[in-house]
Amino acid sequence: MNGFPSLQHLAATYPWLRATAETLRLGAFLGFVFLGLRMVWKQVRSQDAQRATTQFIVYAIAVTCAVGFTQIEAWPFSNWALIHHISQPQMLDWIVEGTDATGKAYRIDKRFMEPMPYEDFDTWFKTGFFRIGRTEEEAKLCYLVRRPSTPGQERVARFLIARAEIARQRFIRGQSPGRNGTIVGPFAAPYHFDRPTLWRTVSDVPSTPFVGLRIWQIEWGVEERYRDESSVKRRLLFDYRS
């Protein structure tokens, strides 16, 4: 049953294949748009559009089923895969902290990246951050041993500190750290994964601005942590002060 994911693996290996795959995906969508607009063209010119409508419907069914059954995404035609792997017994995650001028660290509330969902920022952060200014081989080492930061990583760190600082100031003023609710207030659409808020009282944030960023990697066994909440290993991966 796992034949098609290996095709995805192959596409990830060869850059030209990736570009071709992106073009094919764009082509699948453009085909959908073309058939739809052709139908409109016939209707506008008072021609019989029944055949064009049938072709549009058949194409839409074919392409959405092809994507679904192969599980190779071609968004807006999606594979709709969700929580589809076997659950993992070991977990890795990153914790992001901001530090104040005294060096004291505070967890950064996940709403600081809004409108980007935290899970999407987090996935990029874990896969892309150490690749900035480094080869993939060099990046892999960063997960094991702390290494000096690259200028690009420092630029991103300054950007994240600035966002965390804006979120801190909003929170101190009594507003939400994120901005999704600015227009629709508490009725703002939730993100796909619900998360508890980290900042609840003013003691959760420093009284002075954030000036640094730390990344910790945490690792745990799911069953071990269930038995003992404290059985989590922490390793400092990145420590930057602007």
Partner: protein, 293 residues
């Protein structure tokens, strides 16, 4: 052979091109545009993501930028984003429905991936996929379409969410997915990963293998059976409440939220309600029979 093809075509036409109540078509268009508007109003700074430091776009290839048209600066993106809001409002109120729906759909396809583009171009399950596809279908169908195909095609896209969510579990995890230990693992892992306290119901359910196995089987059977609502409308009486229960349970137990839950309403027949409303409306307000909308 020819007879079989003719019979197939007749069945196809009967299924897709039967007449449909105007109320059902209008309600679905409003639901699609309304859901999209709710999500984009809730992410009103979405275009700001194009102005993130270029280093954060390091996993986004040139081909992927081409695919979604990410070449404009942030100010131009904001202008397009405002246009998206206007086209969605027009689609809700049926103003130039063909143009407003098509433009809304194309702009949604441009903007929706911004939420995830840094690592994946597949922003499914973030609320905008079905509105983008559905609004395009309603746009090309036009405001005067009185056959059911735009509604049924959108319903099909929606039903595929469940079916392929179930299929993907078997495709990737095999039957090992449908086990108590797998669901127990997810209950614990998701609560730990998302940092929920031990008072959560997921922790309370995890110790019971029968409950976990029941959740696994109930979920996957429901997912795979959901498309029946397309072919047997009578099943909607229990499948739609079950779907609502399914999403509430997912949100409470697994912390997985489905923004498109309200789109289940497009499987409801709104014609009886519309007929009643028409009965209350003063005769002078009613559109004369045969007048184009």
């Amino acid at each position: 052979m020819t007879m079989a093809i003719q019979d197939l075509r007749r069945r196809f036409d009967a299924f897709w091109f039967a007449g449909e109540s105007r109320a059902n078509l209008v309600v679905t268009r409003v639901l699609l545009a309304g859901t999209a508007l709710w999500v984009v109003l809730s992410r009103y700074r979405l275009p700001s993501i194009v102005a993130f430091p270029p280093e954060m776009w390091n996993l986004v290839s040139f081909a992927r930028r081409v695919r979604f048209g990410y070449f404009l600066d942030v100010n131009a993106e904001y202008v397009l984003f405002v246009l998206l809001h206007l086209t969605l409002i027009a689609a809700i109120f049926g103003l130039a429905p063909r143009l407003s729906c098509i433009l809304s759909a194309l702009l949604l396809v441009h903007f929706a991936p911004l939420e995830t583009i840094l690592w994946t171009p597949n922003p499914y399950l973030r609320g905008l996929t079905i509105p983008a596809l559905g609004l395009f279908v309603f746009g090309v169908a036009g405001g005067r379409e009185r056959r059911r195909w735009p509604l049924v095609l959108t319903q099909l896209f929606f039903a595929q969410i469940y079916f392929f969510a179930g299929y993907s579990k078997l495709f990737t995890g095999g039957f090992g997915w449908v086990t108590a230990s797998n669901i127990r693992g997810y209950l614990l892992m998701l609560n730990q990963f998302l940092e929920f306290p031990r008072t959560q119901i997921g922790y309370a359910l995890a110790p019971y293998p029968l409950v976990c196995a029941g959740m696994a089987w109930a979920g996957i059977v429901f997912d795979l059976l959901f498309p029946i609502v397309l072919f047997k409308p009578s099943t909607r009486r229990f499948m739609l409440p079950l779907a609502l229960l399914f999403h509430i349970a997912n949100a409470v137990v697994f912390h997985v939220v489905f923004q498109d839950t309200v789109l289940l309403l497009m499987f409801v027949n709104w014609e009886p309600l519309a007929a009643r409303v028409r009965g209350w409306t003063p005769a002078a307000w009613r559109r004369p029979v045969g007048e184009a909308s």
